[in-house]
Amino acid sequence: MKVAFWQKKESKQFKELATKLQKRRSTLLEEFKSKNKEVVDWARHREINVEDIVSKGARTLAATFATGAVLLSSGAAQITHAPENKETRRDVSEGNVLAFLNAKKDTSDKVKKILNSTRASDEKTLTEKLSSELNIKIVPELDGIRLNKTSGIIGYESHLTRYPGDNILTHFETSGDYQKFSHASMAGGPGAWGYIAPSRQVLTEKDIEKERYYLVAQTWLSPNWGSPATKQWFRHRKMIVINPQNGQAVVGVLEDAGPDIHTGRAFGGSPEVMEELGLRGGGINVLMYFVDDPGDQVSLGRYGL
């Protein structure tokens, strides 16, 4: 009669070695548990078996190192602070080649020229010229509402927590972004209006962009402040910030209120905004205006690249 493989008698040497190896693993696991008490607590809290952490973790890490190997072999992991070749006018249809090429033109010199030739106090002329140059309707006042300032020092902000549980590991879409922006760390929580999304599952591309290009302004010092409706009006409000020193302009949205008055700053920008403005080293005086975009046609990010 043929004997099935599970009925075959195990060899003596196999049994001895298997016992040794099993004992070795059990000892290691016990050591692991007594050394890593917080891991045991963490697992108990989530009703996960510590052994499952190890086995599932081993598979996750395999995928991690496989990704790392691919990144290294492709050179992608070596990216440091090289600027991305980014399309800044995503609202331009691919079919309209002329408009697309025009949007890719570097307008920073022209913006600088406008700023040098127009008095900042002449808001109307200045915003009209900027609107014309950048093809975006820029206004110092929108729906009868203004900020306390349209120029002031901008500070370098941390990344906002977009949804409960968002952290430095879940925050970035690519390793390049992680390398460039993780040093800015995460703010302790959401912005003044709460989380951008209630959970990771419902986080949209638009939500990601909102946090990536978020701006901070002293909304409570606005001359129009005083009602819950005004506070809500400022939420996700689209604005353009311009670095007058280099003429670079970024469209972002208000996602937080600040900075405190005692800091001497008037505005704040996400690490990505500051990078696009060429302000990695710290804040200088910038201009900030509303973008009149009721149809939400103006995309966020750098303009006039």
Partner: protein, 110 residues
């Protein structure tokens, strides 16, 4: 399914040693799987040991939700030369297992 042990534990020498035992092919495979399981505990323990306390929870959470492209950058950021450290730890384990096999043969020869 691929595990971290696949990347770091080199099994060629272990296989050579196992081939000197009087065991079946199936038994050899089961023993190699056990070696992988030991390596998993060793290597994850080593990573946890090298992470600062505040980074451990992030690490554990990431292990549960699955790997992301960013995770490897995070580990490289937090643990200098992590691949070399894990390779060295796996080499130590490889030698220990080979020693186990040899001592088994010596015991049987006594």
């Amino acid at each position: 399914m691929s595990s971290i042990a696949t990347f770091f534990l080199k099994k060629d020498n272990i296989i050579l040693e196992l081939q000197t035992l009087d065991i079946s092919k199936g038994e050899q495979e089961r023993l190699l799987k056990m070696a992988d399981e030991i390596a998993e505990v060793r290597l994850i323990d080593l990573i946890l040991e090298m992470l600062e306390e505040r980074d451990r929870e992030l690490f554990l959470e990431q292990l549960q939700v699955g790997a992301s492209e960013v995770f490897i950058e995070f580990l490289r950021d937090k643990i200098a030369d992590i691949e070399t450290l894990l390779t060295e730890a796996a080499k130590v384990l490889e030698n220990e297992i080979i020693e186990d096999i040899r001592s088994l043969k010596e015991g049987n020869n006594d």
